[in-house]
Amino acid sequence: MTQMKKNIILLISICAGLQLFSSCKKSFLNEEVYSSYAPETLADSLGLEASVVGLHNHLSTFFSYSGPQGWPSVWHAGTDIAFVPPTQKQGIEIPYYDYNQLISTDGAASFTWNWAYQMINNANIIIKNADNPNLTSLTETGKKAFSSEARFLRAYAYNILATCFGKVPLTVEPLAAPKTDFVRASLDSVNNQIVQDLTFAAANLPDIDNVKSGSKGKMYARANKAMAQQLLAEVYLRMGKPDLAEQQCNEIINSGKFSLITARYGIKASQPGDPFSDMFWFGNQRRGQGNKEAIWVMEFENPSSVPGGITNAPQQRRNWGAAYYQISGMTICDSLGGRGIARLRLTDWVVYGLYETNDMRNSHYNLRRKFYYNTPGNAKYGQEVPYAGADTVFKIAPHTTKWYQFDPNDVFGFAMVKDFILMRLGETYLLRAEAQFKQGKLDDAAASLNVVRARANATPVTSTEVTLDYILDERARELLAEENRRMTLMRTGTLVTRTLARNTQTINPVLGLSAKHLLMPIPKSEIDLNKDAVLEQNPNY
């Protein structure tokens, strides 16, 4: 071979080697995201629809949170209605009965805060996209439908923030860059934002019969007008505007869309029970399943048959149910609600002092007090388990049946698969009663209360008996384990007085509760990370 040939080969090789990069322009280094959406591709009808579904998904994570299993107890134990059996505590709820331990690094406060602001950010993105005047592929009505649903959920998150933390930073626009100079807005401006959002939502959301349909029929869990109105009523009450609150309640009640359940219905109708208990069986809870009292039911499905059926492992059954199977001769079964571990127990005030005997809500279908040996072949099969001693603290503790759930394929049941009734007409009457009471309209208040009491076969209340405490007692009777008890007491400013008066348990007693606990501590990590401005802490934390 000649030298010429060699050099030609060399030259060709180098050129070939470099040629491989002829495409090596800037585009070679461009990043193409294949498996996640870019936010700008989500600003059309389907994208906005999916974004709103994302909000509902996020909403559910507040209820399904299960990293710390004691999460549901945070909102009920250490109030007037429940305490924590010493052996059954998990951790996150401890500072909520031993209030001395409630400090600024608190896990529950931090989760609540984070959850709310994630909701707000996602809602902000939708609102900005839907309100964008350049979005022409959607009608104004279509835009408002998305915007109003996002505003409703944004207001829902801000209301939780305002209730739990008071003044909080207000963000209504999505961020494009990091920001670390937040300050707490006044409670008024937070409240005004909530009212503004809810007013918009109430005006633009469909009523419950006109919600969108999915592949399996009407999506009753999507936002409707009454949801916005009921939340607005609660917000007005918190703001001290009972007249406006009453007005919202009246609109719901007078809309004729909802009615109290007064007769047996649904999957257990032929079995022993009562109308009140029918509402809380999985399979009966939704409007489409006959629950005409329901305004807002958040739906879950068994993930082994519906992909994405739950967003985490809800702990309500485990927290509220009794650990009866720890009694020799007792076996986990469906009629006892599956496997509970009684991370909380009702206070003696609830068990022994709250209800009249005849109150339907006190029936053994709704509040289980007696247990019978159920292990087949056991010598004492069918006999009542003696009610005495330490076992009543959590093994055969009296408990609400509202969170009963049993999956024969998952007896251990780390997760509970059940719907969450977030708003129903029963509560609307109680909110109206509260609004009427605050305006001094005691007769009206008594009348509102008696609608609810009549359904429960309870003795009617007279107007002279109506006090805020009575209304809060009635809420406990009606909404036990449904409402967020702690938030109700914080909203009404009664957490300290009612808890100290009614939660007088000697086992694991409430400790250190004081007025500062009407607000939760602002998470210390947020204060630390917000390095360019002072995020002021709530008093005495």
């Binding site: 050099n7 180098i14 990043e31 994630q118």
Partner: protein, 1098 residues
Amino acid sequence: MPRTAASLIKCLLMMKMVILLICGFSLQSIAGKGFAQDKITLKLENFSLKKTFKIIEKQTSFRFVYNDDILPESQRVSINVQAQPLDDVMKKLLERTSLTFKIVGNNLVVIAEAAGDANQDKAADFTLTVTGKILAENYQPLAGVSIVEKGTSNGTTSKEDGSFSLAVSDDKAILVASYIGYKQIEVALNGKTDISITLQEEKREMDEVIVVGYGSKKRSDVTGSVASVPKTRLSQLPVTNVLHAIEGSVPGVNITQTSSVPGSSASVLIRGQNTITAGSGPFIVVDGVPFSKTGSVTNDINPNDIASIEILKDASATAIYGVNGANGVILITTKRGTTGKPVIRYNGYMGFDNIAHMLDPLSPEAYVQKYADWFKQVNPTQTQTNVLPNAFEVANYNAGKTTDWLKEVTRQGIMQDHNISVSGGTKEVKYYLSGDFMKQLGAVKGYQYHRASLRSNLDANITDYLSVGTSLSYANNNYDGGRANFYLAAAMSPYGTLYNNVGNYEIYPMYPELLYENPLLGLYTDRTDRSNNLTGNGYMEIKPGGVLKGLKYRLNAGYTYVTTRFGSYRGRSANNTIGAANVSSSETNNWVIENILTYEKNFGVHHIDLTGLYSAQQRNYFATAFNGTGFINDELSFNNMSAATTLGAATIFSNYSGSYRDKYSLASQMGRINYAYDGRYLLTVTARRDGSSVMGANTDKYGLFPSFALACNISKENFMKSVAFIQDLKLRGSYGKSGNEAIPIYGTVTTAGTVRFPFSGASTIGVVASNLGNANLHWEEAKTFNAGVDFSILNNRISGSVDYYNTRTQDLLLRRNLPVVTGYFNILDNLGKTQNRGIEILLNTQNISGKDFQWQTSINFSSNKNRIVELYGDGKDDLGNRWFIGHPIGIIYDYKMIGVWQEGEDRSIDPTAKVGDLKFADINGDKAITPDDRTILGQRAPKWIGGLTNTFHYKNFHLNIFIQTFQGALKNNVTLTYADEAGRMNIPAETGYWTAENKSNTRPALSYTNSRGYGYASDNSYTRIKDVTLSYTFSKQMLDKLKLGSLTLYASGRNLYTFTDWIGWDPEHNYSFRGSGDWTNNYPLTRSIVFGANVTLR
């Protein structure tokens, strides 16, 4: 950024220049006349003969053999020849001397004194023909060795198979055999005519050729900080992963094996942690081609195939890997064929694997006592009615039945490895073929790892200017098998029930306690976990010669194809009543192309070599996963997903079905200039420019990383010649910049993730904001200053090196936590500065080097001081992220435990505390224990690490003892915390607990629930007798009888003993508590004892 843009233009211009120059050169030489390889072009003024010969050796394939004494030292020659044959050149050079020369074979030039005609005539009398064979110490034949009859110019060279034949004057003649890199040896014939000569390798470290980035160099010519892993650590050790072989053996390299799970790898930190969020593992290059970032894992490398491992540490050495250099570079070179007859080799071992340190749980009696103590502490007002909490436990207690759960989940571990290789070649083609099968049966039931691998390395010289080669490898890793749960076994009640009444494992041994499943249920599950790696690297090398002599163009093209496959099924017997299956698979395709142009030239005492690189790499990844639940029965396992009632079903423990794809691209250019003056002064200047797809879209994605290094071989200075006790002394200094891009793909992009939510029973797709992008994200840069000295003194009895370095990293790629008010938890950002300073010492000593007994010691020591210099530019700490200026990156920030509250003590400082709870220090003195009392307790990285290897040789016996130490680090100890589960789980006997009777001041009561989340930080320093190997090398005589080329038998022990104060299974290992982390990593450290043989056939 105008500056970057300018440098980009500059670089492109330079590239163009280089190409033009190449073309220019090519045209010139095409115009000229062809030159043959054996023609010599020389222009020298006033050079010594010796130097002249060396220059010719460098330019041509000729090799000179002469006795130093006969060259007239004072005589200088000048010569100016153009493309002359050697004959003429030699005549010119020797014309004024009394020397003659003779060309032996093809290329050996033997120079001798012209002893007059008599000597020449004597050649005719060379009647005795001696035949023989030249072998290396490993009995491999050596080709090209010069054999000269002493005192004459009569000589020859050995052939490919090491054989030679030489006519000598008589049977008293002495043969002198010499070969580059080997000690010259004189052998007296003493009447023999068939002799075998064994050459010993000359082990002067300075002469050792080591691999550096994009090339190789004699150690004496290296300017940067490059450490070589001792070759003894690459054979005769029962290691399944190359990183395990490196652990502790090289200064500045901290390798941590966080688990002993068969097939687990290790984490590597070279010279401390530079970066906070970005990856801090080193970049691995195998046979010159990137291995990291191709989808490959270190398990894909068969340690038996490795010829050498070099670790590049300072900026000068790593800068040519630019973007990937900041955390150090590990260069692995696999074995290749050498000229000679085929060598067939078998390396194998077999042995046992057992738990090194048992952390015994409480005995049955102590367990019962623990429950009583716990009950009393938790329910002080109540009386205990049951001896144990659960029905099954009570039944077993009454029946006196106990189970040793740790015994049930463990077994005799067995490990074995068999490797067969064939290597050899001719001048034209060289080959290395290797096949390996490794199998490790874990000491915990169900755990196993086996690997089958193949390698074929081929080099072919097609013509005198073109050579090509390939490195092909295939590895199959198999981690199959349902596994027992070691964590649960350690926590299970000794009164739990192992088997149910039909002889299967009881699902809930402590029924009705449903929290703790039978630790052996995993054995009832199906599990497939495999990966395949097929790597094909090819190269083509062109050396044009002629006026372009010294120029070399190399094209590397590499392709890596990695697949993984996972399948698992959990059915009825394993506590899933409907059956759940999941399968997933992934595929990674990676290609890399490198154009490397090198040019090497000597101008008298000046040596220059240039390297240019233009390369690109792209990796594509695609993965799919499927989940299904609801199978009629367990027959089909995960083999028919269409038999699942619900596809895409997810539990909270597994993700939905889905697929994922991503792509990563890298484009690079690099230039390097090495200049050496007389072998005494060395200079290296490099610049690398990298563009990576992961950088922010608002940047040009490119970074430029320059470096330079200077070295001085002081021992070659004239004034040092008289200093007899110093053989080598080299000073090195370097400064440079390297980059780090190690952030996840798409880390700079704002994205929305998909979620699902059901409405009316229909699963609906939703989207939620997932990542807040940062399109301005650019390179993290590390600037390193390094100063080092390499020395060899006292006749090479003591050698080593000392390095000091100071690395400042800036624009850290930081995942910085944000106030969640933003809607996001964190964002990647370029922020802050860190510093790593350290010292590294390597010392090799020949303590005793007698004839029969030798003792060598190798010590390595390194200490690194890491600190955060700056975070956000405002001098403030970031408490939320636990980053404190002036402190190391990895710290433990927690309460300071000062004891346990005892009866009668004033607990007003911590009013919620009960007697028996942990007592913390009131750091800020505000008379209350608050989160502000947390403080920096210590650092997670060790303050110093070291290794000590002692090697003893007695005749054919060799004993190697390697001790490793890790000092001055703190780690949270999971073993010490059990929060609210103390009432229903077993705990280690060693940890103990507080009771009213036994007032421990270090351990809390069982009722302590640790509501402050205290982490139990403990000192995890340790010193470990890591490896002891005893081997026996068979002598030549014995091998002759066995008809083998070589044979070494050995016994090797690993993790023999550990000295530590740590309470737990092992200070190096990471453990998880139930419900956090990955319990499959909870696996005790194992002690392996293996017996092995390394055999070479003849």
